[in-house]
């Protein structure tokens, strides 16, 4: 037997659900431009009298459908696209961060940043060549000798500047890395705390009978954080049944529901950096993300790798090796050309020391490096004329010899694993070429991978983004459906009116 008001109740359920649906439309439109917002929709189902048997449990008419119910509000999201995007994003940000740091290194070299610039090593060599040639023409002149001294001073100062430039880049990038590590720790903590909230909410919702639905806003927030986390390292996210996620970073489980591990940055005495897990103290091994880029370039020593702390990327220590080798080669040539003493058989027994490496307390350093190279104490004390072999002797050939050794002959530059044979200018050009190639490779890769990441982002937006047209259409549908349900109510009312007021009144 059908209950009297059954029809009205069905219409009422439609009115309620459409009102809720309209609210969701309003919410979607309101968040059309909200970062990380995933479009929502009302999950609805047809209801029947019996909830434990199937919707149409029998063909008894009184047990027919009883209307519609809103089960909850869910998100439209594809977790596969999330994974694709995050994987690609971590690769892309590794390349782009590498390119950024290498660009920073490139900017240290004036003639790399602008190949027409005169203030770099190439310009310094050009000046030295000019001044040395002038001196060759007046080999006994004190004033021309001073030009040579000035040019050498200039060149040593350029080397000092390059060295301190690299040190500055290293410091700046290490500070940036520290910030990145701090931010990563922040993210890990926030993700785990969101996990706890989401799990608590889902328990409450399960108890209140709306198990379909989770706290959508918290999910959006967590997804945004995970996206950001993928910029810093390669991550793998797995979902748990209670709505929480586990996050692996560099293959290690770092967020497990409400628990998380964090990173810490160690800097050793050689300025090498090591990012380790706080709990185990093991190094973090990442295959992507900007943290990897920082570690690679800050510790990168190219083919000169000497220890496990170093990486084979041509990074800051590599270019420091290159300029140190330049400095020591320059000192080697300058200090083995002009004789100081010659024995009776005309054999040179000692050479004049033109360049030296000095510590900050002015004592002589063990090895000449770009950081400590300067005009030798002897040259400074004796004045510019120190390089004139002897006022009464033939010196012109030694000046020419110096010029030839520096500008014509091939010198074998060897530092640790790497050797290069060529003139000083060519050595410099080779070095600038290397860094230019690395920058341009990483910029290219960064651009290419960013395009792929953007494609995934676009696909994800295509699924999860709000579309105004769609919302407007829905709005119209829900409005019409609301109107229809209301009309239904009126019709039912009319029918009841017939039943209540017209029945039994025959003939009155």
């Amino acid at each position: 037997m059908r209950s009297t008001f059954s029809g009205m109740d069905i219409a009422r359920s439609a009115i309620v659900v459409n009102q809720i649906a309209q609210d969701v439309v309003a919410n979607n439109i309101a968040n059309i431009d909200t970062e990380g917002y995933t479009r929502q929709r009302v999950e609805r189902a047809a209801t029947a009298v019996s909830s434990y048997s199937s919707r149409i449990s029998s063909n008894a008419l009184e047990n027919n459908g009883t209307g519609v119910a809103a089960l909850g509000v869910s998100q439209v999201r594809d977790s596969f696209l999330d994974k694709c995007y995050r994987d690609e994003n971590s690769i892309s940000s590794c390349y782009s961060q590498t390119a950024d740091i290498l660009n920073d290194i490139l900017s240290v070299f004036p003639d790399g940043a602008d190949i027409t610039d005169e203030s770099g090593l190439i310009g310094g060599l050009e000046t030295l060549y000019t001044n040395l040639t002038t001196f060759i023409q007046s080999p006994t002149s004190e004033s021309e000798a001073n030009l040579v001294k000035t040019a050498f001073t200039n060149l040593t100062q350029i080397l000092n500047q390059l060295d301190s430039g690299l040190t500055t880049v290293c410091q700046r990038q290490t500070e940036d890395l520290q910030t990145t590590v701090d931010r990563t720790n922040d993210l890990l903590e926030q993700i785990s705390s969101l996990n706890s909230n989401i799990a608590a909410d889902s328990t409450i919702m399960a108890n209140s009978g709306s198990e379909y639905c989770q706290s959508n806003e918290l999910l959006d927030e967590r997804n945004l954080l995970l996206d950001e986390l993928s910029t810093y390292g390669d991550i793998n996210v797995t979902e748990n049944s209670d709505g929480t996620v586990n996050v692996e970073m560099g293959g290690k489980l770092v967020v497990e529901k409400g628990e998380y591990d964090s990173l810490s940055l160690n800097i050793d005495e050689n300025s090498y950096v090591d990012v380790v897990w706080r709990t185990s103290g093991n190094s973090v091994l990442l295959s992507g993300g900007s943290i990897r880029a920082y570690v690679d370039v800050i510790n990168g020593r190219g083919s000169n790798v000497q220890s496990n702390a170093e990486t084979s990327v041509q990074g800051i220590p590599y270019y420091r090796d290159r300029i140190n080798e330049f400095a020591s080669a320059l000192a080697d040539v300058a200090n083995s050309t002009i004789p100081a003493t010659i024995d009776s058989s005309k054999t040179i027994t000692s050479y004049k020391t033109l360049l030296g490496g000095y510590e900050s307390d002015d004592t002589e350093a063990k090895a000449v490096t770009a950081g400590n190279i300067s005009i030798s104490d002897e040259w400074t004390t004796d004045g510019a004329g120190y390089i004139i072999y002897s006022d009464s002797e033939n010196v012109e050939d030694y000046a020419q010899l110096l010029s030839n050794k520096l500008f014509e002959n091939s010198y074998t530059f060897s530092s640790y694993g790497e050797t290069y044979s060529g003139t000083f200018s060519n050595y410099t050009i080779d070095m600038l070429g290397k860094i230019g190639t690395d920058v341009s490779f990483n910029e290219g890769r960064s651009e290419a991978t960013a395009t792929v990441a953007d494609d995934y982002l676009s696909s994800r937006d295509s699924v999860s983004g709000v579309q105004q047209d769609e919302e407007t259409a829905n709005m119209l549908v829900y409005q019409r459906s609301y109107q229809a349900a209301s009309r239904m109510m009126t019709v039912m009312d009319d029918m009841l009116d017939t039943l209540i007021n017209e029945m039994g009144a025959l003939g009155t």
Partner: protein
Amino acid sequence: MRISDRQTSRNYLSYLEKAKTAYAETNERIASGNRFTRISDDVSAATKALRIRVDKSKAEEYYDNVSAVSEQLSTTEDAMTSINEILGKVHTKVLSAMNSTSGDSGRETLADEIEDLRDEILQFANTTYNDMFVLGGSSAGNAPFSFDDSGNFLYNEIDVNSIEHDDSGYFYMDGTTRTDIPMSGEIYVDIGLGISMTGSNVDSDSAMKTSYSGLEIFGYGEDDDGNTNNIFNMLTQLSENLTDYDEDAVGTYDDKLLSYTETFRGYLTDIGAKTSFLDTIKNRITDSIDTYESQISRLIGVDDAEEASNQSMNDYVLKAVLSMGADIIPVSLMDFLN
């Protein structure tokens, strides 16, 4: 495909950014005249340009060297031309002294005149160019040629009659010790002939010798008869022998003077030949500097026509993207509802 509003606006912004970047880059290229300056923008062109830049700076140095050598040679030539004229005058005076009818007093006057001419040659012998004695080997500072109090002619304080020469250079015997003559070295300047050295000596055919050895030009040591080979000492001898009138000696020295003058003219011709060689070299270096410049500009310079068309294209694209934005972004079904 479902296109969400966020997609539309993100794509639109990225188009706009691309268009604006292209616009800015083209403008910068046109303003700077360089296609790029950062080595990473085009590594192969940039490293080539850097190598050429190094070669160019060397070539410019060669050019300066050649110019300096030319000027120095022309100073040397002037001095030697003057000396040549004086040598002619000396011979005339010797002849007139030998044929003189005015006796001892007339010869004495001529002897004094010869001495004056000798001192005049000394002035030219110590000619300088840019603080360097052009006939003084590698001398700087003090004049290389001088007379001592007793009238001996000195080169850097060494009596020229005692100077000898062998493969390893000029020397004199100080007792039994062989001693090198100071500042008698040769100066070579790199003019781009591919300078090479053996030990600390420049190979003479790989560079330009700019020093003229005064010893070689004015003579040194003595001949087999114990007569001086040096022009100044010859003139001194001529003047003294004219005063004392030793006819044989005057004849001997006059012969030596004549043969010396011949040799001297040889040096003068040599300078002329060198000057024209330098002109050729100078032209060649100018050509290669021009070539280097055009290579650099081809590698890193801007192609004006290309950039101009890029600029108008960029302008067009940017405007199109902007107007597209105005058309697309705000439109949705919402705008058509009543």
